[in-house]
């Protein structure tokens, strides 16, 4: 089982949090802080597993994380999950994000947290891995987006226009913080 999925940036700012077990909000924040503290002080060339912090789980839980450019993707899982499998899953998730957002960067996650959630929902459900096939995930996400668009119709149009206008004067919208090193060699990616 996956107990929690956290995405935060190099400064510990949460970009997405998804707990599959109830924690009160302040506890959630504390967990994020602790996890960030644990993860951030590790070099990039050390292993991606961490015996869990004291807050989340116990000895049975592990933190499995990947660091892409400015973002940390952290999964907290118990012993029923395969460590390398979860690493692959993170990769699948990130690649899916990359496909759905076309060259994903941190800003995409910042401004479209809801969409990231919807994508994640197609990968992990209730703490269990739902789908690992990227094409299948992307297809489902796109179908749902299309449905949303068709529903939007007339009433959605003005809002979209406004948001497009708002985005025009956005000097801070550079897309250069790409999650570039997406093609990190994953030992067992091919068969998935």
């Amino acid at each position: 089982m996956i107990k929690a999925i956290l995405i935060f940036n190099n400064h510990g700012k949460p970009r997405l949090i998804r707990f599959y077990q109830y924690f009160a909000e302040d506890m959630q924040q504390q967990i994020i802080r602790e996890t960030f503290h644990l993860v951030s002080k590790r070099d990039d060339n050390v292993c991606n597993f961490l015996e869990g912090g004291s807050l989340i789980g116990g000895s049975d839980y592990k933190l499995i994380y990947r660091h892409y450019a400015t973002l940390y993707f952290v999964f907290c899982v118990d012993s029923s999950e395969s460590e390398l499998g979860i690493l692959d899953l993170i990769q699948v998730f990130v690649e899916t994000l990359d496909k759905c957002f076309e060259n994903v960067c941190e800003l995409d996650l910042i401004f479209h947290m809801d969409k990231v959630h919807y994508i994640l929902q197609e990968v992990v459900m209730g703490g269990m891995v739902l789908e690992t096939n990227m094409n299948e995930i992307v297809a489902q996400v796109e179908l749902q987006n299309r449905m949303e668009k068709s529903e939007g119709g007339l009433s959605g149009a003005p809002a979209r226009a406004v948001s497009a206008v708002k985005n025009m004067n956005l000097p801070e919208m550079p897309r250069n913080i790409n999650i570039g090193d997406i093609n990190i060699k994953v030992p067992s990616l091919s068969p998935f």
Binding site: M1, P14, R18, Y20, Y22, A24, E25, D26, Q28, Q29, D43, N45, V46, C47, F49, L50, S80, S82, E83, L84, G85, L87, D88, I110, F111, H112, M113, D114, H117, Y118, Q121, M125, G126, G127, M128, V129, L130, E131, T132, N133, E136, L143, Q144, M147, E148, E151, L154, S155, P158, A159, V162, S163, K166, N167, L170, P187, S188, S190, P191, F192
Partner: protein, 1257 residues
């Protein structure tokens, strides 16, 4: 209306959407909180509007704020509103918000039931999907109960997208509503073979998750998973299944044997590291589960260790980490194979990655031996010096202590070295483990008598240099060591070289800066020292030095009397007064030394940490019972306001009457327990009790060994542990030389006297004699301490509720609550509805069993039809269904046997499944037509050569072909696979006719001779436990008896009936004459003399197996039961009635169940002393020792606990829980077996039976 919509959307234009909110927050970095609070106000306004779009937008923003840590539960109702929007866009927003912030105590959840139900049945699959996803996050017991049925229907939805989500969410439903597990399970099982890989994977996922918590209920699925494992190509599924098998194998060692081959194949073939790693992991689990049985899997272990080495050597840190992790699992059972990679692991200690270093440290723990302990610790000490971060250094420190102190200091040969290591460790700055070091010092000094002189000298030096240690005053800091030092110097002051100097050191004014509890120890032990000093000084000349000492005490103690710490103050003032009094006496020239030292006479013994808990409560003593009747309430109320101090006062006269309710009582008990636990002196309250608790091997019985003189006793200044390494080397060399000499002498002796065998191999572990005989004082335990600790499971574990037998047929009452139509609903609210159902399930068994009986009746009629139908269906689907391992033996005989056992073993139909499983497990090569299975079987065959011991393998084939095959397998395992396959297929056909034919084990010896290849450990001959029951010209019966693990009074007799004639045998009836002690279990309602119908018919040449359950009262004696089998022989033209008498022989062996046992538990058991012993000798046993052991294991259901050369300890237990322990030794064809058991009669009989077994061969 249209206008309103337009107006609404225009309004919305100026509302903030999520992006605006995010942007706003980013632009207000300085006053973020303030900005957000205004945003929340806006959101509150938006939520008040009617427009659902506005609301949805607001909820979406709330979801974002929730991530930032803001509590948004106040908007829960609005979230529900948005969830119930008809538009997917908004619904999705609502469900997302709900999944982020709803939890079990959110009260609006109960409003959602109907909405969710509506969404679940929506024609739009994404509505359903969104609802399922949301529900998976916030499902409550109520929701689970109300929606279980709807979700179950969705498991068969046409869209795989919905199916897989429905399957996954079932796990959450089971957790919240355990009653749904049994009704839903068949369908879940079905989904394991869903055509869509996603659904299949989801089902595997759920079952694995369930099985991980309660593995035993899922054993019966093993064949199905096995099939999936050999057929699936989805790595996710494979990984899950392989992990699941890892959890199942400890329960069923036979499963492990079956798994090893396919897993090894996967290990060889897969390119995916994740899969490889999990395979290795499961193979390790299998090996662990097997290791207690037969230690003959060195090839697999080697393979695992090799693969792991490759992982560890990989440049990828992740693989390195995982390799080490898995290595540590192997270490537990096969330390030797890991020890050969010591170089690699030591290398990992230098890795830059801390996680990896920590893993490597874990491994070191198991790799030490007497030989290399010093060397390894030396290396660690170097690391301690180098380590920069305190956390890692502390970790190293604890590891060093762990490694050295493990299993009662097993590996320490020189305690002086250890003490100096500890002293060296005290020089670490800023460590938090002062307490740990201190307790080690105390432990060693108390328990190793011979070391005390040395320890005291070291501690005195420490006290002298106390100023070095007092830099770190924080709690648990290194100054804790002074606590130990002071206590050791005080308690063992007779060994002190210069007690006066130490006394002075302990009374320095600087001591007053130490933490209170240390000062208290200082004061107390200063008094002890004082006593010793007095004693030595008084003996000499006139009293001046003695008086000076007293003067010193009188001068220094007042400092402590002023201490703020109560305990220090109390002790100091007590002792001060005492010394003043002594001074007075001294002035009168009275000899006081004797009396003063009498104050501290007697030795303090270590008490085992659990000793207190294990004191059995004397019979008839109820500590919670009232001594006097509790007074009426009014009275007690008057007494309640009591001063704090009076409460503490001991009450001797009469028990105080206070109003004490249950809670209070429990609380007090708790407090008392804690007090006792914290009070080191508790058990010694009365000196007399000490005697009582002393065990036979108390302190007095331990020989005090002289210290090796090669180590200088006086080490000036602080010691260096390094020098001991050198000294130890020298000592060992000397020892070796000595031994050689002795050996030579003995060899001379040998010629004259009766020779005893001497191993003259290379120096092994055991050869290293410790410098100090490790005369460790055993900890005290109460006399009749209870041997086992029962570790209770966490009662709050939600998975406990899911421990449900899934193989029992469904009762009618076990249906998921279905929403019924209005008429019914008018009467019941959904809540009541559920209650009614749960009440129904709780109803006494009576009703259920009635129903079951009815069902069974129906089954009997319907079964045959059904099975035929099934068969047809399956054949339609795929041809390969025939090899479906579980139901696949759909060809006549086995279907029948399935039915049969249902009838034969009436208590539960579980046994049908179980026996199926047994069948699957025991039948390594499964009859099959497909290639795949054939290869698996062939492979299994190849592997099973060395492990042919496999307890239950009744797959013995006609002898010759097997022999030929065995040779073949050896010569060319791989090349000739194809040929072999063909051959095997032929064989199988043959076998079908021959079927299981069971020769008695006497063939075994022959075979091993024929085999001829003399290896180190020859492969074992195959054996069978089946022995002849009776035989005539029509039929032959062989049988085997197995204890039933689940029930302490049942044994299962498996009888194989073989038709030897050309006619059809039918209407077989099996009957025995019950004795008082043992009874055949008959179906309910039949009389005690009725026979059981054997549930199958036998065509010519066919054999089949049926199982019969017997109930036993006493199992200490072997028994014989007379019985008869009646049957009809049917030819084409005629039929005759025949019968065959037989005698069922229940040996005592058949009540034994081979149970793994760890050597420490085994040792404890032997020590416990309530076992009676007995022994036998077997002369002229020609077989190799491991064959002998295998035979005992196999025929008598023992398992090997430990084997050292020609000596082995074995263990087994009976179905009623008697322990049987054997010590088997062999020398010169003579085997002596010493045995212990708590039931002497049983033991005698078991030994007789063992003797018999070996006299036969």
């Amino acid at each position: 209306m249209a206008l309103k919509i337009v107006k609404g959307s225009i309004d919305r234009m100026f509302d903030k959407n999520l992006q605006d909110l995010v942007r706003g927050i980013r632009n207000h970095k300085e006053d973020e909180a303030k900005y957000i609070s205004t945003c929340i106000d806006e959101i509150k306004q938006e939520l008040k509007q009617d427009n659902i779009a506005v609301k949805a937008n607001a909820v979406c923003k709330l979801t974002y704020l929730q991530m930032l840590g803001y509590d948004v539960s106040w908007a829960a109702f609005n979230i529900v509103e948005v969830m119930s929007s008809s538009k997917f866009t908004y619904k999705r927003i609502g469900y997302l918000a709900a999944s982020q912030c709803f939890h079990e105590s959110t009260d609006v959840i109960m409003l959602t039931t109907n909405q969710i139900r509506k969404d679940l049945s929506s024609p739009n699959q994404y509505d359903t999907g969104v609802a399922l996803t949301g529900l998976s996050c916030f499902v409550t017991p109520d929701l689970a109960r109300d929606l279980a049925n709807d979700i179950m229907t969705l498991m068969s939805h046409t869209k795989p997208y919905i199916r897989k989500k429905a399957v996954l969410i079932m796990y959450k439903v089971f957790l919240k509503y355990p009653e749904s597990l049994r009704p839903a399970f068949p369908r879940l099982k079905e989904k394991l073979e869903d055509p869509d890989p996603g659904v299949q994977s989801a089902a595997v996922n759920v079952i694995c998750e369930l099985a991980r918590r309660n593995p035993k209920n899922y054993l019966s699925l093993a064949p199905l998973f096995f099939k999936l494992m050999t057929s699936s190509t989805n790595n996710w599924v494979l990984i899950k299944i392989i992990k699941l098998f890892g959890a199942l194998t400890p329960l069923e060692p036979r499963l492990g044997k079956k798994l090893i081959e396919p897993l090894t194949n996967l290990i060889h073939s897969t390119s995916a590291m994740s899969l490889l790693y999990e395979c290795v992991n499961t193979v390790i689990a299998v090996l662990i589960s097997l290791s207690s049985g037969m230690p003959n899997h060195s090839a697999s272990i080697q393979l695992c260790v090799q693969k792991l080495r490759i992982l560890i050597e990989d440049s990828d840190q992740n693989l390195k980490y995982l390799g080490l992790l898995a290595m540590s699992k192997i270490l537990k059972t096969h330390p030797k194979s890991v020890q050969s990679h010591k170089d690699l692991i030591l290398q990992c200690l230098d890795d830059k990655d801390e996680s990896i270093r920590l893993r490597a440290l874990d491994l070191l723990y198991g790799m030490v031996s007497k030989k290399n302990l010093m060397e390894i610790v030396k290396k660690l000490m170097l690391h301690v010096d180098k380590a920069e971060g305190t956390t890692y250094r502390d970790e190293l420190l604890t590891k060093i202590i762990d490694i050295c102190s493990q299993s009662n200091y097993q590996y320490i040969t020189n305690f002086e070295w250890y003490i100096s290591i500890l002293v060296e460790l005290t020089r670490l700055e800023g460590t938090r483990h002062g307490h740990l070091i201190a307790s080690q010092m105390l432990d060693v000094a108390i328990r190793v008598k011979a070391i005390r002189i040395f320890a005291v000298a070291q501690m005195a030096t420490l006290l002298d240099n106390a100023h070095l240690l007092t830099g770190n005053m924080q709690r648990n800091g290194i100054c804790e060591v002074l606590y130990a030092a002071a206590w050791i110097c005080g308690e063992f002051s007779e060994h002190l070289e210069n007690p006066m100097q130490t006394l002075e050191a302990m009374l320095r004014p600087k001591v007053a800066t130490l933490p209170g509890h240390i000062q208290a120890v200082y004061v107390q032990n200063a008094a002890k020292l004082f006593a010793t000093v007095l004693k030595s000084q008084e003996g000499n000349t006139e009293g001046t030095p003695a008086q000076e000492t007293s003067q010193l005490m009188v001068e220094r103690l007042p400092l402590f009397v002023q201490s703020a710490n109560l305990e220090v103050q109390e002790r100091a003032s007590c002792i001060l007064q005492l010394v003043k009094y002594i001074q007075k006496l001294q002035q009168k020239d009275v000899e006081v030394a004797e009396e003063v030292s009498a104050l501290f006479a007697g030795e303090l013994n270590p008490v085992a940490p659990k000793a207190q808990k294990k004191v059995p409560v004397p019979e008839g003593l109820d500590l919670d019972a009232w001594i006097n009747e509790p007074p009426s309430e009014s009275e007690s109320e008057d007494e309640q306001p009591k001063a704090i101090f009076t409460r503490e006062e001991p009450k001797h006269s009469r028990p105080r009457h206070t109003e004490v309710d249950e809670k209070e009582l429990a609380k007090r008990r708790e407090v008392r327990k804690q007090e006792q636990a914290n009070n080191p002196f508790y058990i010694k309250a009365s000196p007399s009790s000490q005697k009582v608790y002393q065990e036979t091997h108390g302190v007095e019985h331990i020989p005090v060994v002289q210290i090796d003189l090669s180590v200088p006793l006086k080490v000036p200044g602080l010691p260096m542990s390094d020098q001991y390494v050198k000294l130890e080397e020298e000592r060992r060399q000397k020892d070796r030389a000595d031994k050689k000499k002795k050996k030579k002498e003995k060899r001379k002796d040998k010629r004259t006297g009766r020779g005893k065998r001497h191993d003259s191999g290379p120096e092994s572990e055991e050869d290293i004699t410790p410098a100090h005989m490790v005369d460790i004082v055993t900890e005290e335990m109460p006399e009749n301490a209870l041997p086992s600790d029962d570790d209770d499971k966490d009662p709050n574990d939600p998975h406990k509720a899911l421990d449900i037998d899934l193989d029992k047929p469904l009762a009618d009452s076990e249906k998921l609550p279905v929403r019924s139509h209005r008429a019914a609903e008018a009467l019941k609210s959904p809540g009541e509805d559920g209650d009614a159902v749960s009440a129904a399930t709780l109803e006494p068994r009576k009703k259920r069993s009635k129903e079951k009986r009815e069902e069974k009746k129906k089954d009997k009629d319907g079964d045959r039809k059904k099975s035929k139908e099934e068969k047809k269906k399956k054949k339609h689907k795929h041809e390969e269904k025939e090899e479906n391992l579980l139901s696949g033996q759909a060809d006549e005989p086995v279907v029948q046997s399935e039915e049969s056992s249902q009838v034969a073993a009436p208590p539960t139909s579980t046994s049908a499944e179980v026996s199926d499983l047994d069948f699957w497990l025991s039948n390594a090569p499964v009859p099959s037509n497909t290639q795949e299975a054939a290869t698996v079987a062939a492979a299994a065959e190849a592997a099973s050569v060395p492990e042919a011991v496999s307890g239950t393998a009744p797959d013995s084939e006609p002898e010759e072909p097997k022999d030929a095959e065995m040779e073949e397998t050896k010569s060319s395992k791989h090349k000739k696979k194809k040929q072999k396959k063909e051959k095997e297929e032929k064989e199988k056909k043959k076998k079908k006719k021959h079927h299981h034919h069971h020769r008695h084990s006497d063939a075994g010896g022959e075979e091993s001779v024929q085999n001829g290849t003399v290896e180190e450990e020859e492969p074992l001959p195959s054996m069978s436990n089946y022995c002849l029951l009776a035989e005539n010209s029509y039929i032959k019966m062989v049988y085997d008896i197995q204890g039933n693990l689940q029930d302490g009074s049942q044994v299962v007799v498996s009888v194989i009936f073989e038709n030897k004639c050309d006619s059809f045998l039918k209407s077989m009836e099996f009957n025995v004459l019950d004795s008082l002690n043992s009874k055949l279990q008959r179906p309910e309602g039949s009389g005690p003399h009725d026979g059981l119908t054997v549930p199958f018919q036998l065509p010519p040449g066919v054999s089949n197996e049926a199982r019969f359950v017997f109930t036993m009262q006493s199992i200490v004696m072997p028994q014989k039961l007379k019985g008869t089998l009646t049957f009809i022989v049917k030819n084409d033209d005629s039929s005759t009635h025949e019968k065959l008498d037989f005698k069922l022989h229940f040996t005592c062996t058949s009540y034994l169940i081979s149970t793994p046992c760890y050597s420490d538990a085994f040792a404890k058991l032997l020590e416990s002393g309530d076992l009676k012993s007995s022994s036998i000798k077997l002369e002229a046993v020609l077989m190799p020792f491991h064959h002998l052991l295998a035979r005992i294991c196999f025929h008598h259901h023992f398992s090997v606990v430990e084997r050292i050369d020609s000596c082995a300890s074995m263990y087994s237990r009976t179905i009623q829980g008697h322990h049987v322990c054997l010590l088997v030794k062999t020398a010169d064809q003579t085997v002596s077996i010493d045995a212990k058991c708590d039931e002497p009669t049983l033991l005698g009989n078991v030994l007789d039976e063992i003797k018999q077994t070996f006299s036969q061969c």
